[in-house]
Amino acid sequence: MSQLKLVYFAWVRERVGKAEEEVVPPASVATVADLVRWLGARGEEYAHAFENPKVIRAAIDKRHVRPEAAISGAREIAFFPPMTGG
């Protein structure tokens, strides 16, 4: 898998401790849910941010996606809590 840009918002960003980063996940990481599991195992701050995958929302290249979405071809994947705008 090639390099992937991850961006984080709101309390996901605060818990991870950064707004964005570049990662190269292993080939076994095929979906958004796989990526959440892989990130959750990267350290304490990630484990905290992704401790409840059900409340994590994701977007691939700025479009909402579901956890089962494939990440192949993605340039930017965003993780954030449920939205509270309006």
């Binding site: 700025k62 965003a78 939205m83 509270t84 705008g85 309006g86």
Partner: protein
């Protein structure tokens, strides 16, 4: 359909924005304006301010998508959506939706549709600043219910 979509730090004037949608034309028979305003208290506790974080690029794209969808569902003659980000104090505006149509039904429905979707699908997050510190606002299940009722397109008879 003319659409104005703005994301900005600055406050805005809802009256001026609403007037702009019907200025110089005589086909508009109804303009509906919704303004979301920062309250001075949350659950009975006073707040100092809200800070809105957003996902630049995606926030605009999501709003454009939903404005286009509203244009397909209702015979609209104009739409304006403004959403602020950054620090907003009690009494200041947060969001504006203005819809124009020949008749009120379409203008009311489209404004409500856009607000329900802005609440649940536009990537914005509110943080409350108060005497006890900063806390992220939790999403409300009622907002999801409100947005879900639009999932099935209404009958097209309104547009015909």
């Amino acid at each position: 359909m003319p659409a104005t979509i703005r994301l900005q730090r600055e406050n805005f004037d809802p009256g001026a924005e609403a007037a702009a949608l019907s200025r110089g034309r005589t086909d508009v028979g109804a303009v509906v304006t919704f303004t979301g305003i920062c309250r001075g208290a949350e659950d009975g506790a006073p707040i100092a301010a809200l800070t809105l974080e957003h996902y630049p690029g995606m926030a605009e794209a999501e709003i454009v998508r939903h404005v286009e969808e509203a244009g397909k569902r209702w015979p609209l003659l104009g739409v304006t959506v403004i959403h602020r980000y950054g620090r907003i104090e009690p009494g200041e505006n947060i969001v504006l939706v203005v819809t124009a149509s020949s008749h009120r039904d379409a203008a009311f429905a489209a404004a409500e549709f856009l607000m329900d979707y802005l609440k649940t699908r536009a990537p914005f997050w509110k943080q409350v600043e108060s005497a006890s510190g900063r806390t992220w606002v939790e999403a409300k299940a009622a907002d999801d219910v409100a947005a879900d009722r639009w999932a099935k397109p209404p009958g097209r008879e309104a547009a015909e």
